[in-house]
């Protein structure tokens, strides 16, 4: 109890455990979270302890391999808050990595949205096992104070800052299966990388979404991963026939289309939720689609929920990884500092600032950054006296809390009014916590710069043609098949078309218009639905 304020007992218990059982992964609540509320803190700490030993071993191995291969740089690990941390920090605080993979993609999507001047974007990332989506306003994906692992009724709270992402169990590897009543389902079980889809030819018997995409001609079995891996259409057909088409008495194409439809519907609901749950009409948004399978399914989903435009960035299959290379090192600190705004003792305020500054400097040094390389941003959690919840207000120095408080006061009143619709300018304001966010700008922002670099084709390739099934009842129709690295900026393509590249495939439905932007991103304008 109350270890957020005084960790002495916890620290003593931890010291005994670490001394007696040096191989045990020990995690202490105050090392993870310095905030009151025993349930949320316990849950977060327990989650850290639960994932700790495995993640710790894994990261240890990873670092060992990297050093063996003479990697001399810093290994940074993505955090849930959209920043990065050192591998040592990640080994102590693995819970801070939760959901960080999808987060990185959304950081990249946010950067792209800002560059392209899109104020309301929906990031959509579809990989092998799940699809993730986030609503990005002015280039910034929203940050939540914590989140629930699992659903909202039975989930475990994780009380660390995390980018708000909605996830749905549908991906390229999601298995299609029939229930006894003759219902067709897709997921949530995934075939994973091994044995993978039936068409990988590694002995899998269950058909997955990727198999259906191949059977429908949407994927190119000869040019998957740029031709490094052949996909076996016959195996995909056999799996779908045996597991879906025959039990349900469907034609092969019908069954394959059904699998894709069901996956697309599940994803549409999730994508719609991130916008309309905020009361925002999807018709006013742009979808940024990435992940290996994202560009293949994005246009169907966008059409389903009336998103008019889809953007497929360069290298969509690697976009999450690229997003990590756009993220900054970041660490958040908090210290309780209780008092009244304008009346707090200057010594107390100065002390709290100094303590945080020292903690920030120490963290930088521990991760081998020069103290001067960090950007220090302070904020104070403020509230009207008597309230419980606080708002973090940016401040610069101790005087912003002690003497010249007019600015802080005005900022708080304005924020309170903006968020909650009222303010009480004549009431006294309490300080509860002092916060510090330290970020280290990237030494080089190559990947960020690359997003807006002019595009020139990097290869030449002949246009091909192939029969592709787009819709029910229409049957396969002849579609143009284009090699993305060969397309010049300014190229316009009207669907039906398939744009292929090494890590992904973009499907352009009949009537949709795709254009290669001057930076090389594909901008797809969807045809009006009749």
């Amino acid at each position: 109890m109350h270890a957020y304020a005084d960790p002495a007992h916890e620290a003593a218990a931890g010291a005994i455990l670490r001394r007696r059982l040096p191989d045990l992964f020990v995690t202490l609540s105050h090392e993870i979270l310095r905030e009151f509320r025993e349930y949320e803190r316990t849950s977060t700490t327990t989650l850290n302890a639960f994932v700790g030993p495995r993640v710790n071993r894994y990261l240890g191995r990873l670092e060992g391999f990297a050093r063996q291969a003479r990697f001399g740089g810093k290994i940074q690990i993505m955090r849930s808050n959209g920043g990065t941390m050192s591998i040592d920090q990640a080994r102590r605080e693995p819970v801070a990595m939760m959901e960080s993979g999808p987060v990185a993609g959304m950081i990249g999507a946010g950067r792209l949205a800002r560059l392209m001047g899109i104020d309301r974007a929906i990031g959509f990332d579809m990989g092998g096992t799940t699809a993730k989506t986030s609503f990005i306003i002015d280039g910034v994906p929203p940050i939540e104070e914590g989140y629930l692992i699992g659903d909202e009724f039975t989930g475990q709270p994780m009380q660390l800052p995390v980018i708000d992402i909605v996830e749905v169990g549908a991906g390229g590897g999601s298995i299609a299966w029939c229930d006894q009543g003759g219902g067709l389902h897709v997921g949530p079980t995934s075939a994973g990388a091994e044995p993978g889809p039936a068409c990988y030819g590694r002995g899998a018997e269950d058909p997955v979404v990727t198999d259906a995409d191949l059977v429908l001609g949407r994927l190119n079995g000869e040019r998957f991963l740029g031709g490094d891996m052949r996909l076996d259409t016959a195996l995909a057909e056999a799996a779908i026939s045996r597991k879906v088409a025959e039990p349900l008495g469907l034609e092969l194409t019908e069954a394959a289309l059904g699998i894709v439809r069901i996956a697309d519907t599940a994803m549409s609901l999730a994508v719609r939720a991130v916008s309309v749950n905020r009361g925002i009409d999807p018709r006013d948004t742009v979808m940024i689609a990435f992940g290996g399978a994202g560009p293949l399914h994005a246009t169907a989903i966008a059409r389903e929920i009336y998103v008019p435009t889809v953007i497929v960035p360069k290298l969509p299959g690697n976009f999450s990884a690229l997003g990590m290379l756009m993220a900054e090192w970041r660490k958040d600190f908090v210290r309780t500092l209780f008092g009244q705004l304008g009346r707090i003792r200057p010594l107390d305020a100065e002390h709290a600032f100094a303590e945080l500054w020292a903690a920030g400097e120490q963290a930088l040094m521990r991760d081998r950054f020069a103290a001067t390389s960090g950007k220090f941003e302070y904020a104070a959690d403020l509230r009207y006296r008597g309230q419980e919840h606080t708002i973090a207000i940016r401040i610069g120095r101790p005087e912003d809390l002690t003497s010249a408080t007019a600015v802080s006061r005005a900022r708080f009143n304005e924020q309170h009014d903006r968020r909650y619709g009222h303010a009480a300018p004549d009431q006294s304001i309490e300080i509860v916590n002092l916060r510090l966010v330290v970020t280290v700008p990237r030494m080089d922002d190559t990947i960020g710069d690359w997003l807006s670099q002019s595009w020139t084709p990097t290869a030449a390739a002949e246009e091909q043609r192939r029969r592709v099934v787009f819709d029910d009842g229409v049957g396969p129709i002849e579609a143009r098949v284009l090699w993305r690295p060969a397309l010049a900026a300014g190229t316009e393509i009207v669907g039906p078309a398939v744009i292929e590249e090494a890590g992904s495939t973009t499907l352009i439905h009949p009537g949709d218009r795709a254009a290669i932007s001057r930076w090389g991103h594909i901008v797809i304008t969807l045809a009006e639905r009749s």
Binding site: F36, E38, V276, E388, H389, R419, Y420, G421, H422, A424
Partner: protein
Amino acid sequence: MRAHPITIEVVRNAVNAYANEMATALCKSAYNMMIYEVRDFCCGLIDTESRMISQNKGGLPIFLADLGIAVKDGIERIGLNGFKPGDVVIMNHGHICGQHLNNIVIYAPCFHEGKVVVFAANRAHWVDVGGMRVGFGSTATTEIFHEGLQFRSLKIYEAGKRNETLWQIIEDNVRFPESCLGDLRAQVASCQLGVRRYGELVRRYGIETVQSCIHSIWDNAEREARAFVEKIPDGVYEAESFLDNDGRNLDVKLRIKVKVIVDGSKMTIDFSEMHEQVPGPLNSGYSGGMAAARIAFKCLTQPDAPVNEGCFRPLDMILPEGKLLNARPPAALGQWSVPLPTVIDTILKALAPALADRIPAGHKGEIGGYSFSGFRQEDGKRFLLMNIVGGGWGGRPHEDGEDASVSICQGDVRNAPVELQEIQYPFVIERHALRPDSGGAGRYRGGFGVEITYRALQKTSVNINFERTLDPPWGLHGGRPAAINKAIVQRRDGTEQVVFKGTGIQLDAGDRVTFLTAGGGGWGEPRIRDGTAIADDIVHGYVTVEAARRDYGYEPARDNAAE
């Protein structure tokens, strides 16, 4: 005219999102724990015929019924033409709202092209509204005038200008004016947010389109509810239970009798044989009966769907005046919500024969609140600690009941964190645990209640208000009843006293109070419970070996015991 399906979907999600946004704004800027921790509030949009368009997710199910009732009174008294932009109305009138006076309704009209198109409304529990006792759990009152200030559809803001007279009256007549007026400001702002959002919506789509969408949403909800009722065999289903007493006449048990009539796609809940209204504060107004009927109906028909007026169209209620759930003025209403969990459980019990695979055994069946109050030693300032703790829910047709959960009336009401209570009030909480052996035995046993021990650090007084000690949470299909609620007051000298109901019990520094809450009833014969489940319960300390022997005929295997 039927709106475009995607527009309907946008409007549906938008009106629900607005209610949730209003709730967040209220919760985050409120001044009292009952709102920001316990979430004893609701927010919603009400149309000009006082029908519910949307209500926030979470919060209290007992508020399902009645924002509309509060707004309806204002529409009748003020008239739709009597509203101006910038008006805000305050309402807690006992007879009309039917709840304790602490529940303050605030609402504001939203105008479009010069006409009121919707009201954004919320209700929140103020820590005090004057009256003879502070906090909840008092059984001292016998008429509404003992219980505090009443506001009947009064404009606290008129065309944007604050009514200073009314404001001053509130400030001078409540025990915690800074908190109450802070909450009032937060409530007003939450309404203004709802008004702003709905205004944007009707400007974007046009009022006709939005209204057409809302009707489609209601019709759809109604269709879903009817489809479920259709599946219940027609018939008249009855059940009965009782409450201990009204806190005044301790020998008089209160009969809770319900009749459920299913006829095609229509369900009628008949409360005519319910106990008469009582002298103590356990009464509610008409909205109390309505809340109980609606909660039972909603959790049967559409447990997951957002709530709106259409959900309840297939539901009728028979509730004569003068009954416990529809008391005549000037009945005391201080503990209006206490009977409701039992009423709902009894409705469900009535339907158990028809819906054997859906109805759980009885749950803890009461509201589970207590309060401590006093004056702080350091500065003489008044304090009031209120908390709500959970208990067990009944075993279910396929699994054990939930542990340590608030009643069916309280949704996602949360207990206050121990750390928060200790920071803000002069107590040390020495223990907070699941209560062993409290769940009723059964093939699927009931969930466990809670035990929590407070040690007072200074002179204080406590209100204890436990119910259902004579009619414990029942088992179904051979399951056993659960352990009952009780409190133990332990003095510094070691003497102990068991208390079920007590108002203003004095405590000195060092005295302790332990609250032990009821479990849920068991479902099915205990003798056929899976042996590993019993062994598991013993290992975790949920069930003692003695209880396992007694209730399940369980003998721990020797080699297991040796491990």
